[in-house]
Amino acid sequence: MIHVSCQNCHAYDVVGPGHPAVTYSAETGQHLLTDRSALRHSHSGDCEPHPETGHYPLHFEFMAGMAPADLTGGS
């Protein structure tokens, strides 16, 4: 799961498998965020889309417990 929030108003959604913004890739076996318009949060009136991408700038944040629970020893 990953915490996705608006950089301006901080409205957020928690995204993972089964979320409407997420598509499963059989090729890679990964659940990918492919549809930002399906994020279930509402921006405030003063949020501005990025001038280049047209998307609202977002924070993709791993909160405590959302990143790997068990990093293993490397070589």
């Binding site: 659940h31 965020l33 930002r36 629970a69 068990d70 990093l71």
Partner: protein, 150 residues
């Protein structure tokens, strides 16, 4: 199973050391000593590694805003462990300046002259859909090293 007190000691020696670093020197027959070389860096992987092989690190080309060799986890990577578990004390942030390829894995490396990889794993959700203007953040406490089953 190991005694968690001894595991805590080893983890703290390696991952709680501050920027001065240090070294661990085994007794006769105890194998090679090794240096402790903080600060540790968090690296993003476009192909996750394994316990025996490194992943493929992101670049500034496929993840614009990311710089090869990763970003620092701070002067002290982790506070003292509890029951053989440690987590990062400081947040790490990248600001994307273009569209990112998917990032399914992360690794923790030291900053020795020839850096060594210490930890690796996959993230619970691959980082995907990141575009110019977004940021990618690992909050304090988000990355755990759990040695209970090592």
């Amino acid at each position: 199973m190991t005694d968690s007190g001894r595991v805590n000691s080893l983890l703290q020696a390696v991952f709680s050391a501050t920027a001065t670093g240090g070294s661990l020197t085994p007794g006769t027959g105890g194998g090679s000593g090794f240096a402790v070389s903080p600060p540790y860096h968090l690296r993003l992987m476009t192909t996750a590694g394994s316990n025996t092989s490194n992943g493929t690190e992101a670049t500034g080309v496929n993840c614009p805003g990311y710089t090869a060799l990763g970003s620092t986890l701070g002067t002290q990577f982790c506070a003292a462990p509890v029951a053989a578990v440690q987590s990062n004390a400081n947040a790490v942030t990248w600001n994307a300046t273009g569209t990112w390829t998917t990032v399914p894995g992360i690794e923790v490396w030291d900053t020795a002259a020839t850096p060594l990889r210490w930890l690796q794993g996959t993230v619970t959700s691959p980082i995907s859909g990141v575009v110019n203007g977004d940021s990618v953040i690992f909050a304090a406490g988000a990355i755990s090293a759990n040695a209970q089953s090592w």
